[in-house]
Structure formats: C-alpha cells, structure tokens
Amino acid sequence: MAHHADIHIHHMSRVEGHGDIHARIREGAIEEIKFSVVEAPRFFEVFLKGKHYAEAVHIVSRICGVCAVSHRLAGLKAAENAFGVKVSRQTERLRRLALNGEILCSHILHLYFLCTPDYLGVSSVFPLAESDPETLKRAIRLKRLGYEICAVTAGRHTHPTGMETGGFSFVHSEKALQDLKKQLEDAIEDIEAAVEFFRLVTLPSFERETEYVSLKNQDRYAFYDGRLYSSDDVSALSIQYRDLIKEYTVSHSNARHARWRRPEYMTGALARLNNNQEQISLLGRGAMSALNLNTPLHNPFLNIYAQIVECAHCVQSSIELIDKILDNGIRKSDELTVFQPRKGRGVGAIEAPRGLLLHDFEYDGDGICTDVNLVIPTAQNMANLEADMREYATEIIDQSESEIARRLQMLARAYDPCISCSVH
C-alpha cells in the first residue's frame, strides 16, 4: 500500500511525444499529481507570422505527423474563412473522406500499437507477430486502409501533398475511388473482429463526470464542420472561441492548458460520442451495442471504445461519401476554387483524431499571416487528465507504488495524447 511514495515517470512510452508523470503521496493521500509536457517547443505561432498563406498551410501540417491532414484542413479552413472562399461540394466530400482516413489510421495506431500491450501485459505490439499473428495482421490492414484513403484523396497521409486553399491541386481518379470503396467494404469484417477483440479486454472501471467539448452538427457526425459545443449545453460559432475557451500557461508543462465552463474539460473521441451519438452511422451503432455503450459515458478509459465506434463509423461514412462522389462524377472544374486573398481573420475548426483543433489566422491584404493562434486537442485535455489522475490515484491508493505508476500511465495513454502537437 502506497502510504508514502514519490512517483516519477520520465518520458512515458507508447505515446506520441515526451511527457512525464509526477505524483507525491503522503500518509495515504495524493498531495500532488502532474502531467508535465516536456516536449521541446517549436514556436509555430511565431515563425508562421510573415509567411504567405499558401506557405503557411504547407508548414502547419508539419506540426504533427499523426494528424497532418487535420492540421492542413484546419489551416485551409482558416484561410478560406478569412478570404470568403466557398469550396465545391466535391472538394468538401473529398476532404471529409481524407479526414475519415486519418481518424481511422490514428485510432487503429492508438488502439493496437499503443494501448493493446497494456491489456496483454507485453511491452509492445510486436510480440503478437508470434503469439497472435491474425490480430496483428488485422491491425496492419486497417491502419493501411486509413493511409490508403489519405493517399487517394490527399496524395499521402504524412504530409498531405495535394490539398490547397480552395480545393485540390490534382484531379482525383474515379478508378482509385472505386478500388478504395471495395477495400472499405472488405474491411467491415475486420472492423467487426476488432470490436470483438476489444470487447474482451477489461477496461478499468473508473468514472468522473466532466465537461465534454467537441464540434456539433445536426446533419452529420461532426468531424469536418459544426458549431463549438460544450456538454454544459453551450454552443457557439468557431470564430467566437476566444470569448469562451480560455488558454493559460502552467509552470510544469510546455503545453498551454484550457478551460471553458468548468476548470477542465475533455475533448476527443469520448467527448464527440457523448455529444453526437445521434449522428453516428449504423455500423458505429452496431459497435456501440456490441460494446454495451450507453451515452453519456463518464469513464475516460472508454475513450478507447469510443475510438473503435468511430473507426466503424468512418468505414461506413467513407463508403457513403465515395458513392456520392462517384454518383456525381469527378468534375475537374470542381477541384479548385479561384479566389483573391484579402485582409481579415479566419478560424478553422476541425475534429482531429484527438479532439477539437482550432487554427486562428489573421492575414493582411496580400494574404501574409500577421497573427496566428493554434489550439491543440491534447493541450486542452491536460487539465482534465490531471483531474482524472488525481481522482483515480485516490481510488487505487491501496495498490503498490509500481501498480499505481502503471495504471496512471494507462490512464494517460487512454487519452491518446499527441504531445508534439500540444507544444507545437
């Protein structure tokens, strides 16, 4: 029993980026608990100033290798909103498809490669090549499908090459989209097997209700567009975010924390599912019932299950998107909208795999960036993660010091932190 312990986990493993966990336990009580983002800051918000908008969208995808498409899309939307550009319906659908691909890819990477070892008691997913090759092959197939969607729609996954302000710089191939649809249909079996695989995993039971923040859209599950929404029943246009979401610096972390209604909130797959369960597709619904999920969900470990539901949703939604695109036929003239840059401010809001992502840009009359603010999902989650860690550690205080350390890492991992992003 950890009556008196100092837990220090340096550069925790199986996450994107560098983060440390510190916990001080005295007389059986948590005295202090922190998640320190020690990742090196890169200062995108500084060096993007003075850059031409076209260069800026090229650079922003380099904020993150895992969610490069999301960053590119948020940057594009910021510029388009500022310049008053309306992209074609075809472009919008292809972008939704690209985002589905990235979300599928990122979730599968997190579920199998980063989380699964926790629940199988191994150090990485690689031993599965011997012990359970089918599962590993399935994980690889699903991850590759995500890459494939991005390759067909955006050139590649890391870093997309064909996405421009106003649309795309290349003409999409109908044949490639047809092939992709076939792959997606074949993947339904893999998705069902993945749901079954994770259904048999025992997630820790822990609940702490919090504020859940995501985009919300009446018409469809909000990945690509929607209004800002807090489960405390507030909604707003993304351009208003500064009046609502307060970012602040903390001394122990290189990522800025954020709050909205409460001192902390959660964003990401679990928040999205809690806020948008009505818009989830049939395949996603099937996954929800197989996993016995009834929203609202208050266990942060269930973020893992919410990600599986979203994978199922992405596969079905991608098939439907391809059908719509092919029904209309790819029109070359719809690939790129012509426009002139103008002075103004634009906010691009996207649901990245890990949650709400905001790119806020101001431009001068020549389209040169004069001010930039980037609000990153993992950074927004930090205060909530620390609140969860505190309450969870209190619940498991009777465990040994090493067990507490292990479980705190599992909790942090369940959030799927993308730490490079959070510092940017």
Binding site: H11, S13, R14, V15, E16, G17, H18, E39, A40, P41, R42, F43, E45, V46, F47, E55, H58, I59, R62, I63, C64, G65, V66, A68, L109, F113, L114, P117, S123, S124, V125, F126, A129, K137, I140, K143, R144, Y147, A154, G155, R156, H157, T158, H159, T161, G162, E164, F168, S169, F170, Y248, T249, S251, N254, R256, S420, C421
Partner: protein, 268 residues
Amino acid sequence: MVIKNFSSKPRAAFFDFACCEGCQLTVLQLDDRLLELMAHVEIIEWRQVMSGRGDKYDIAFCEGGVVRNEDVDRIRSIRDRTDILAALGSCASIACHNSLRNEWNVEYAIKHVYGENAGDFDLIPVRPISEVVEVDYQATGCPVSLKEFVTVFEHILTGKIYRPPNDPVCRECKQNDYVCVYEKGRICLGPVTRCGCGAACVAHGDACHGCRGLVDDANTDAVFKALEPKSRHTIMEQMVRKNRLTETDLMKKLSIYDPPKKPENGKE
C-alpha cells in the same frame, strides 16, 4: 563515419528530438515489411511504440532537431552509447522548418506563445543533430522517404557507405512525365532539391518545397536569374510579376527546409 560488419543481430533503437514524429510514423507504414526488417535487428528501445529502455546500441535512428541545451546533452549521450548514428528526416539532418525560429528573438517568441508567466526553456539556436554530433548515415525528407529508409537500413546492415542521390527532383519529374511546375506559372524548388522522393509533391499538382535539402553545389543563382524580370523566359517573367516575387522571397522559400549554415552554429 562508422562502418560496421555485425557478427550478431545488432541492437537498434529509435529516438526523437523536436519534430512531428512523422518520420517514425512513416517507418511504421512499412507494416509487414517492418516485421521483415525486424527479423534482422533486435529493437531494444523505441519509446513511441514500446516500453523499456536500452543502455548500449549498435544502431540508433534519430529524428528531430536540437533546440535546447538539454537536447545537446541527450544527443551526445546517445552518440556515446551507439556505434552507428543515423539521422532520420530533414529536422535531424538539415534543420527543416524548426529553424525558422532562429529568425526571431527568443524572448519575444517565448512571451508571444506563453505570456508573461512563461518559464525558462533554456533555448539555443535550432540545429539539426548532424551539426551537433557526428552522424554516420542520413536520410533527408519531410517526411523521410520510405524507400530511402529501407536503402539506408540495408547499407547499415551490410556495412556499406550510403551516398544519397545527388540529382535534382527535375530528374524524377522527367522520368515520370510530370508537367513542369514552371510551365504552370508556379515557383518550384525541384531544380535545386535533392531527388529520391519520386517527386511526390509534383505528382499531386503541388510544387517542390525543397524538403529534401539542396543538391551538392546547387546552382541557386540560376534559379534566381530565371526569376529576374529581365529574364528571357516569358512564363517566368509573368510569374514573377504576378506573384511580385523577389530574390529575398525565394531565399526565404529556400530556407524553410535547408537554411544557410551560420559559422557560429558549427559542429562542436
């Protein structure tokens, strides 16, 4: 440069410094082939995808750039503990866009991002790891080219020196029959950028942004000259007028990935 013939299965590790981790993710995209490669090495440390730490390594792949004093200590410690060090991607080998921060005052940058209560980040001018320690192998690119990573990997395992291709991206455009970006009236860094990516950006209608760095002895003057209004190339002339480009603009574009090396930032 360390060249080694391995008598037993070499112990390999992956590390990252300031970067987006996109190069490691690209390596993970090898999927089945990654498992094949792993049959030839024992991976003992790879924080992104596995728990556990190593002490000594035969091969260390490093992604990212050096931006703080602690990064210098860390890369030196890795250098001391590994026989072979391979720089993965442009941040590690040529600096990449991380170094755009060097154009700004550090105190201003910190205050702008973190406000008045900002802590001390112990920042130093951004450098690729190749400028801080000796690097035995390097593969540039943002992200690294998968094909080149496999080639470098094979060269390491078979004890061969790796010499990156030294032709411009134009060669790959010609091989693939891609329409020249200049013909479309856009600026492209293909003529001075090291090939090896299969002209990935041009393939999707984008221009080359120079992410793989300059070829040796790149004739940047010729690119500048081609952009001068008095140049005889009418397409260029129109483009320069349309985009109001100057030599400084092009220099800026060239410096996103491969900034001019300053003598005070030299190797230590």
